[in-house]
Each structure stands twice: as C-alpha cells, then as structure tokens.
C-alpha cells in the first residue's frame, strides 16, 4: 500500500452514525476508512454515491464528496459522474435490495460498460431500512413479514450475476474480515474499470447470523473457500477438500481422491468468465462451502477512456468545435 499522510480520522464526518448497534455496516465503514487513509488519494478526488437503504447511509459518514441518492439508481448517477469526470475516484455503496431489485438494470449496465466505478454491495439478504422484508438474495423459504409462509422467489447469486454481465472485476468478502476487505478494496481501486464487490453483511436486527456458516469459529474452517490467484483451490481444516472442474461445473471433492492435476488453480485473469462463474455456482448463498476473494480481475477498455478517445479523435479529425461553423453547416443564404 502507498504511504499516506491521512489517518482514518480524516475520513470520519461529524455526523452521528445511525446504524443499529452491532450492525455489520460499522465494520465495513471502518475497513473503507482505513483503506482510504492508506491509499493516499487526495480525499477531494473521492466520491461516494449510494442509493437508499441502511447501507446507503454510508456517504454521510465519509468525509469525501458524496451523494445519497434514490433507491436503486446509484450506479446510473455514478456513471454520469465518472463519465464526465474521469479524474475522480467514484465509489458506489448499495444494498441487496437497492442493487439487485429496484436497481438491477443499472447494475448490469454499469458492469457491462466497464465504467470506472467501484461498487460495494452490502448483502445482508434482507431489506433492512424498511424493517425486514425478504430481498432478492433471501434464501428460498425465508419467513419474513412479507413472506409469512416462506419466500417463493429464487434468489440471485450476486457474484454470478455480475459475472454474467461480464464485469471485469468481481469479488466477495465478509464484513468481519477486515484485512481481506481492505485488500480487495485496494485491488478494486487499482483495477481499471468497473469493480463489483459483494460484502456479506450481518443485519443483527432482521437477519442475524445469516453468514454464520462463513463467520462462526466452528463453521468457517469447513466452509470458507479462500480464492488465491495462482494457487490450487483447496480448503477445510486440513486443506483436505479441493475444487475441481468436471462435467461442465465446479465441484467440491476430497482432495485425497482427486488427481492433483484436476484441482483447479485459481486464475483471476481468465478472459472467459466461465470458470469464475462455475466457482460462483459452488454455493447459492452463504451456505456450505463458499468461495471468498477475487473471482475475476480481467481488464478491458473502460467506458470513459473510450469516450475520451472518441472525443479526441473527433477533435483531431474535425478540429475543435466552431460554433459559427456549426450554425452554418446546414447551408445558408444571405438576405440583404
């Protein structure tokens, strides 16, 4: 990480943080503030844009430029800002309802365009702000106020969705895992283009312990599959489990039974998202063995760079715009 004159306090605002005590959002805020302090980018160059939801309160607590906008639209607003101001570092904070329900369209389009915005999706698998309805990532059968007999909607797998939209940077982390979160933020920042980071975030009021299989002391060693670029994908208390790709899908097997050459070696940079997608499909939520880390980091031209190069090309070909000539471009006649 770069050296920086900032400390975490430089990124804190005087606004009282209004999340419920114990909410995972606090931990994420601390990770982001720490990362920003270390990153050393002048804070006037940083903009946080959010939608609506508990998570979307985030910009108020970051002493940078920011905008708390409307439900689901943060990626669109951030796109306009990033496209017109490529000099800024634009970050989006959104929730599972915000990004995947009302704002699903903007999310996939921002990702496919590869506009240089970094999207942090705080996935608590619930609508927090509206007090506990099921969300597009709530598991099938989830009982909430709006689904007293259990949710009948098949949930989204946000990482798979982002990969399906051919996002060039896709990662998953946990609110509790601050070092990993900061590492991924750093990598997302360095990545040129859209970055999508799903952060499993505990809502201790409406959906407590949703991620316990990945965060609990007992459970996590069995379920966390840590993706490390260039390394074979193995996990378990004694690294006794392995992930292989067979019959067109990724599968968990006993390492002992697997031919070592069959064990998937993680490669973030594969241009084709197929293997990354297969990894995402290993779990359809934070249940059982679940990959954590960077699924994909495969750069492609960014939207704003292409936009700027078209402008440069037009100016080179046609000369800088001349208003007088423009008004005459349709042919003129004189009246004397």
């Amino acid at each position: 990480m770069t050296t920086s004159a900032y400390t975490r306090a430089d990124f804190q605002t005087d606004q009282e943080v209004r999340w419920c005590p114990g909410c995972g959002d606090y931990t994420i805020l601390a990770s982001v503030q720490n990362f920003m302090a270390n990153m050393g980018l002048p804070k006037e160059k940083i903009v946080f844009v959010s939608g609506i939801g508990c998570s979307s309160r985030f910009p108020y607590y970051m002493n940078t430029y920011g905008m708390h906008t409307i439900h689901g639209r943060a990626p669109a607003i951030a796109t306009g800002l990033a496209a017109s101001r490529p000099d800024l570092s634009v970050w989006v904070v959104t929730g599972d309802g915000d990004a995947l329900s009302i704002g699903g369209n903007h999310l996939i389009h921002a990702l496919r365009r590869n506009i240089d915005i970094k999207i942090l999706l705080f996935n608590n698998q619930i609508y927090g702000l509206t007090k506990g309805q099921y969300s597009p990532t709530s598991e099938l059968g989830k009982r909430t106020k709006s689904s007293p007999m259990g949710a009948i909607d098949w949930p989204f797998n946000p990482v798979a969705l982002a990969l399906g939209a051919e996002a060039t940077f896709v990662a998953r982390t946990l609110d509790m895992d601050r070092p990993l979160t900061q590492e991924i933020l750093e990598r997302a920042y360095q990545h040129q283009g859209a970055a999508f980071i799903e952060i499993y975030q505990n809502c201790n009021v409406f959906n407590d312990k949703a991620f316990i299989e990945l965060t609990g002391k007992e459970e996590r060693v069995h379920n966390r599959i840590d993706l490390r670029h260039g390394e074979p994908i193995v996990f378990g208390p004694n690294q006794e489990k392995a992930v292989i790709f067979r019959d067109g899908r990724a599968q968990v097997v006993d390492r002992a039974s697997a031919d070592p050459s069959e064990i998937l070696v993680h490669d973030e940079t594969r241009p084709d998202p197929t293997i990354a997608f297969a990894l995402a499909q290993l779990s359809h939520g934070p249940h059982g063995p679940t990959p954590i880390g960077i699924f994909r980091d495969a750069p492609r031209d960014t939207y704003e760079r292409l936009m700027a190069s078209q402008i440069a090309e037009a100016q080179q070909r046609l000369g800088a715009g001349d208003l007088e000539a423009l008004l005459r471009s349709g042919g003129t006649w004189e009246v004397t």
């Binding site: 905008m67 306009g80 017109s84 715009g321």
Partner: protein, 627 residues
C-alpha cells in the same frame, strides 16, 4: 399582404404562363419507402435558397416499415412557401403529389378544391388500389374532377431516365422521388443547383446513385417543360425577410445547437444523457455527431438512468441535460425530485407527443404541461419553459441553461413533435453576442473555521453554491433526505422542513423577476386577447392577422415561461375583456391561469394529434368577437 392564395388561373392558353402567387402549400405523399421526406426537404432547401419564407410539417407513420401501399404506411411532407413572413405550414395543400393510391386516399380530403394533383399513374394498379381500399380507380371514375390532375407515368419515365446510370434492380425506382422533385422544381421555378449539389455530396460514395438521382430530377423537370398536361407554372417571389444570414433548421437540430451554444456560453462541458424515444432521439443523434465540441453523449439503459447520469454529471460540474418525450418524462420523475432536493442544475427536455401511454408517437400534442409543472412527488417546484417554433428552440435552450445554472435548479424545457421535426428559415445569431451565462464554482470555504456550507444561499438568487468534486476543502454530501438550511446536514426538524420547502418555492418564484415581461402583439386596445404557448404560435398569430385583415382588433400573447409566469402577465390579462386560450390539450394553460390569477378564459382545445388549422383559430376569434 393578403394571406389567401391567389386562385389558380384558368388554363386555356397554349403557351406556358407564369402565375404569381404570394404563397402556396405543397404536400408530397407516398409510401414510407418512397423518399417523400427527402424530396420534401430538398424542395424546402431549394425554396430557402430562393429566398422564400417557409414552414414545414413532416408526417410519418409510427411504424418503420408499415406494409407497403397501405394507408398506415403513408408518409407525407408539407411545406408552405411565401413571399412574406408566414407562420405555419398551411392549413390546406394547394398542390398534392400522390405517389400511390394510398397516398391519394389519405390526403385528398385535405387538398383545396381546384388544387393541383400530381399522380404517379403507374402505381394505380389493381393491387395497390385494393390495398388502399379503392373499389374503382379514382383516376378513371371521375371522382377527381374538382382538381387539376397532372397524370405522370412516373415509374417508366424514371426507369428510362436512369437506365445508363449503373443502378440496378430495385434501386432503379428509388429515384422516382427525384423525378417528382424535378417536376415540382419546374412547376414552381425552383433553382436546381441546391438539389444537384446536395445529391452529389450526399451520395459521393456511390457515383451511380448520384447519376441516377440527377437524371431522374432532370427528367422530371423536362417532363414539365414538354407535357401538355399543364401550361401554367407558379412563381412565389422571395420574401422580404430582415437582412442577415439564414439557414433552414428543424426544432430538434436547433435545440441541440442551442445546448452546444449554452455550454459554450457557460464555459462548461456539455453532458447529454438520453434513452432513444420518438420524437426526441434526433437531439441525441445530433449531439452524438458533435464530439469535437467536447460533447459527451450517454445512451442510457433507460430514462431513469438517463436522468441519473445527468444528475451525476451535474454534480461533477457539467452542463447536464437529458432529453425525452412524455413516457420518458414519467420515468424521470423521481430523479427530477432528487435534483430539486439536491439543487443541482439540469435541463430536462420533453419533446411532447400524443399520449397517454405510447399514444401517437409521431404526432404533436401539448399535453404534458401540467405534468411538467406538477408531475413529481412532494413539493417540487421547478421552472418550465417552452419553445414556440423550430428556431426558437435554440434560444430557449440557452435560456433554460441560464436559469438552471444561475438558480441551481432543474428546468424543464417543453418542445413538441411539430417543433422538433418542422423547419423554418432562421436568421443566424451572432455567436460572439451570445449571453455569458457562466457561474463560478465555489472554490473556498464559505463558513466559519474553514467549513463549507453547501446550503448557504445567495441572498439575491437563493441559489446554493456549486462545489464540484475535486475541490480541496469543500468535501460535502448531498442527498435526497431533507437538508438542514445552511449546513446541508440531514434534518428531520419540522421548522427546518417548512423553511426548506418555502425556500425552494421562493427560489423558483423569484425567477419571475429575472425574465422578460410578456409582450402584447397586435392591437393593445382590442377586447380580445389570445394567449398561447409552444408550437401553436404560428396558427395563433396567423389567425389573429387574418382577423385583423378583416378589420377586427385582436391582441396575442405567447408564453415562453410557464413557471414562473412573467410578472406583468396578470396585469396584461386583466386589461382585456375576453381571453381565448387555444391549446393542443384539454385546457391545461387555461387551468393554470385560472388557478394563479382567478381569471377566466375560454379554451379552444384539440387533442387530435394534428396542429390547429389557422382557420380553426380564426373562426373562434371571429365567433368571440361577434358577441
């Protein structure tokens, strides 16, 4: 100057005669694939080059490829040319070109009795007649006796004319619109050069097409010279327009150029976020071609994203504009309220079309006025301006941007299909005389102890400062939650919400002191005032002129500012006994005037997807004056 066409001379002499007219209305109609829009635009440009005043009214089907030869597939282009300053594209064509039976059927009722009808006889075969729903061939059954019919076997003549050009197969008959154009050029003494030059430029990459179109054009012209069918040609002399350099411009183009000019005058980069929709798409197309002006066009995934991106660009310090039509404005509603709350400068263009829902996408209406004023949740006042003619769209675009920037507010600019696709000669403004509409960004803290207060308002305009990301020390957070006055912090305080609601309202109302008073046109001592807004300008002014020519007194007022109204509007309204408000809606401005001033007026309302005929407005004026 008389506003009625001179009667077409009885045609008995053998020699070709030239009859002089003060104005004439020509409509070209054919299948969507027949190139009528191209032919109409070329005729228009030649007439502009000749020095006529003119106005155009294109009309095309909503379907891109409606079945050939059918009534829904008919596309037409109407142009009025005159030797004086006309105001509309005319009520009734004097000349109709019908390229097939469907075009004849769809348009004949509009042709003036005794008018000239040019028909492509070869398209009147059994199949086409059946498709158009004709049981008998109208060219043979005597039903066209009231018109002067010029029958032209246009297809074989075009084939013959282009045979050496190198075009083959189906492309051969594509030139028949140029044949028709050549014939019109002869009939109306149009200069040939503008058309020939255009063809050469437009098809430069395809020399065989250049050759074919030019040959067809000349063949049409020569057909006129040699035909026995008519011996009278018409001359509409150049109009006495104010001196200057003119171009012929459509409303969408003028609006796009106005936005570029506004960015230039504001010294800001232009950002245009939009989702394609008829009839606003051409603004996006025009701006996308102008990247050398530094224009950033963003084709969004939907209108919600378009307004969103525009808000983002405005936060970043661009002149941020989004354009759409009614259905898209509906989707932008929530975003516009965010811009009201965050007090960011935006221009939202609504090129109105027939509604509700998909309605009549290619037809004009003025039905979004109340929607523009009130179509948002919460108390979300914003300025609303309307363009009144194609060239006026240029000025209104600059004015909308000026208000948006100066008062830090979203502004809605209303245009409509008539303005967007209609065209008129436009005397070019002097670029170096454009107003300076730039506003400085905040660069220094404006509060105690180096604090930046994003909602500390300017005492005159009530605008808050515009501090763009990248400015050290002015980091701040905007958002849709109610803001505390001055600090901009989130606030749920009742008194603060009242204060902020009032402040937002007052800021917009106060703009009335910064816009020109309405000007009364016509007879200030008249008993009747006709009040309009938007694209009805031409019909209203022409109707008032006709009434005046009959010896009546009539005054008119045309509103560019629909919110807030100009300060003198109430006094003006009160100084007349009767007020007539013609609108292409069910009475939206009339309702606003009554709500604002408790002044009653009478409406002339039409929601038929077509503009007012001058005669309709005139009849209403005369009827009211008789009381």
């Amino acid at each position: 100057m008389s506003d009625t066409i001179a009667t077409v001379n009885d045609e008995s002499e053998q020699e070709t005669q030239t009859a002089e007219l003060d104005r004439v209305v020509i409509r070209l109609a054919g299948d969507s694939g027949d190139g009528m829009q191209v032919a109409g635009s070329r005729f228009t440009d030649a007439s502009a080059a000749f020095g006529n005043d003119l106005a155009t009214l294109p009309s095309f089907p909503a379907e891109i490829r409606a079945p050939a030869g059918t009534l829904p597939g008919v596309s037409s282009f109407q142009v009025q040319i005159a030797d004086f300053d006309i105001l509309t594209a005319g009520d009734q064509p004097d000349v109709l070109v019908a390229m097939n039976p469907a075009a004849l059927k769809a348009n004949l009722a509009d042709l003036r009795q005794g008018g000239t009808l040019i028909v492509n006889t070869e398209a009147f075969n059994e199949r086409n007649l059946a498709k158009a729903g004709y049981e008998k061939n109208p060219l043979e059954d005597g039903s066209l006796e009231g018109y002067r019919v010029i029958k032209v076997p246009m297809e074989s003549l075009t084939k013959e004319a282009v045979k050496d050009s190198g075009v083959k197969g189906r492309d051969v008959l594509r030139s028949k619109n140029f044949f028709a154009l050549g014939l019109l050029a002869w009939l109306f003494h149009r200069p040939q050069e503008p058309t020939l030059e255009w063809v050469e430029q437009k098809f430069a990459a395809r020399p065989e097409v250049v050759k074919a179109n030019i040959s067809a054009f000349k063949a049409g012209y020569n057909f006129g010279i040699t035909t026995e069918a008519t011996k009278v040609t018409y001359l509409v002399k150049p109009a006495h327009l104010p001196p200057g350099t003119y171009t012929n411009v459509t409303g969408n183009t003028a609006l796009a150029w106005g936005l570029i000019a506004a960015a230039h005058a504001a010294k800001l980069p232009l950002f245009y976020g939009s989702y394609p929709i008829t009839p606003a798409s051409d603004i996006l197309h025009e701006l996308a071609r102008r990247k050398n002006f530094g224009v950033r066009t963003f084709q969004a995934e939907d209108e919600i994203a378009a307004i969103g991106a525009t808000i983002g660009a405005a936060f970043g310090g661009a002149l941020a504009v989004t354009g759409t039509s009614g259905p898209g404005l509906a989707l932008k509603s929530e975003g516009i309220s965010l811009a009201v709350m965050t007090e960011l400068p935006l221009v939202i263009v609504d090129v109105q079309r027939g509604g509700p829902s998909t309605g009549l996408p290619t037809k004009p209406e003025q039905t979004d006025l109340l929607f523009a004023l009130y179509g948002r949740h919460g108390e979300s006042p914003l300025p609303v301006l309307a363009a009144a003619s194609p060239s006026d769209a240029f000025d209104v675009a600059i004015e909308a941007a000026r208000i948006a920037l100066k008062y830090m507010t979203p502004v809605i600019l209303l245009s409509d299909n008539l303005i967007a696709n209609g065209s008129e000669p436009w005397r070019l403004p002097a670029v170096d005389e454009l107003p300076d509409i730039s506003v400085p960004f905040a660069t220094e803290p404006n509060g105690p102890e180096g604090h930046f207060l994003p909602y500390l308002r300017d005492v005159h305009t009530f605008a808050r400062p515009w501090a763009v990301p990248g400015t050290p020390g002015l980091e701040h957070r905007l958002g849709g939650l109610e803001k505390e006055a001055i600090t901009g912090n989130v606030s749920y305080d009742p008194a603060n919400h009242q204060l902020m609601t009032d402040s937002r309202a007052w800021k917009i109302a106060n703009i009335a002191s910064d816009i020109p008073p309405v000007e009364v046109e016509g007879d200030e001592d008249a008993s009747l005032l006709v009040v309009g807004w938007g694209s009805t300008l031409g019909s209203i002014r022409a109707a008032a002129r006709r009434a005046r020519n009959r010896g009546h007194k009539v005054a008119t007022v045309h509103l560019r500012y629909l919110n807030p109204f100009p300060e003198n509007l109430e006094d003006v309204l009160r100084s007349f006994d009767m007020i007539l408000v013609p609108e292409l809606n069910t009475g939206q401005l009339r309702r606003l005037l009554r709500a604002e001033y408790l002044i009653d007026s009478e409406g002339l309302n039409k929601v038929a997807g077509v503009p007012f005929k001058v005669a309709e407005v005139e009849d209403k004026i005369l009827e009211m004056l008789k009381r």
